[in-house]
Symmetry: C2
Subunit: 228 residues, 2 copies
DNA sequence: ACCTGAACACCGTTCAAGT
DNA sequence: ACCTGAACACCGTTCAAGT
């Protein structure tokens, strides 16, 4: 085909197309060629909008975080000075919403890993967490560390969950001695070698659940927010 | 070249070659073709040892975790019943060693994301954490959740740090309005919109530090291990 | 300014064929 | 059993050229 008439896309249209690909065909399908193809343009034309694939991926994170509801849960009756329980509830709700948002899209975690979370919407989230932690009584520097720790926990949780879900048929291989001469100390025999791990296998099986996420989150908050 | 005489490699030799590539040329260089090439064989020959690239990556994680020192720090004088402080010190040391191990190798985080941590050496780590948490007085089910939460925190921390380090020249793009028509609610102006984030910018600048890692880890442990 | 077409230097994986 | 060579269906990115 020849150049034809000039077409033009907004960044939002391009990102929408990218998310369509992400949801229907997975993270691997979100390629420069793939996104360009679904828009009906050539891969090189996409470089007019995003200077690299990484820039496109970072745009997608922002697009996703723009949809994160940062409002406090429940009360349309906005209390001026919410109590400690309400603040805590807000943080937990925020973390759960972030988790939902990122686990709803297959491979969204791959987006997070593509670069730092420093876009405007990532900062909106950070600012909201800072507000909550200072409202909970933390000094501003401690609130910053707490907000970071909370994001670390939330993203780490999503990362491990998605890694677990990517279990492939090759999973059987490691059980029959992957490193016959690796270190000598690590001789894999069977589950009996790890008594505690076997006894808690039923707990491990639920690691991916929301309950496990909330449990750890609550313990982290126990440590972060000083108890009265 | 013709087939030539039969060459044979151990899994350890292949993984060593893969880690050489990882350290000298980065995660992208750890390709089936790349690893095979550094061994002097054809890409297809590598499929004799590992049935997929993912299986190779999972082998690398295990290779790495085999080098994780799980021993309690300090005491050659092994006390029979260590006190709470010693147990806590051991967990922190373990987390720091894990962090060192994974941050020492560029792109090691990419390995973690390639599949579930269910190899023998990953289980060795899990078992050690379970021992520590039960020794700290936790019921076995809670110990399992605690061990998982701790790994979530450690890996999440490493993930965010490596994402921050991958900052590229495209980072300037998002600051001048990436989504002019995305949602309408997210209008990016300047840092003044996020007063708390600006006030804590100096703390954020140290997010990558070991201090930040330990601070959050200590808070998590505050919540995980019941205080006397 | 926006787009095309061709090209460069790569990927993971499969398959028939050799020894 | 272990390996090669060719092939398939892809990648991200660059560049000269068109309108």
């Amino acid at each position: 085909m020849r150049p034809g008439p000039r077409r033009s896309f907004t960044h939002a249209e391009i990102l929408d197309a990218a998310f369509d690909l992400l949801e229907t065909k997975g993270f691997a399908a979100v390629s420069v060629r793939g996104v360009a193809g679904s828009l009906g343009i050539t891969p090189t034309a996409l470089y007019t909008y995003y200077s690299s694939k990484n820039a496109l991926l970072r745009g997608m994170i922002e697009h996703l975080l723009a949809r994160l509801d940062l409002r406090a849960p429940g009360g349309s009756d906005s209390v001026e000075a919410p109590d400690a329980a309400a603040i805590r509830r807000r943080i937990v709700t925020l973390a759960l919403r972030l988790r939902e948002l990122l686990t709803a899209h297959t491979g969204a975690l791959g987006l997070i890993m593509s670069g730092p979370l420093d876009g405007p919407n990532a900062m909106r989230l950070n600012e909201t967490l800072l507000e909550s932690f200072t409202a909970a009584g933390l000094a501003v520097d401690d609130a910053a560390r707490a907000a970071y720790a909370l994001q670390v926990y939330a993203l780490g949780s999503i990362a491990l969950e998605s890694a677990d879900q990517d279990a492939d048929p090759d999973a059987a291989a490691p059980t029959d001695g992957l490193f016959p001469d690796a270190s000598g100390t690590a001789l894999w025999t069977d589950l009996a070698t790890f008594p505690l791990s076997s006894r808690t296998a039923h707990v491990v099986a639920q690691h991916n659940s929301t309950d496990q996420f909330v449990w750890g989150l609550e313990r982290l908050l126990d440590g972060l927010v000083p108890q009265p």
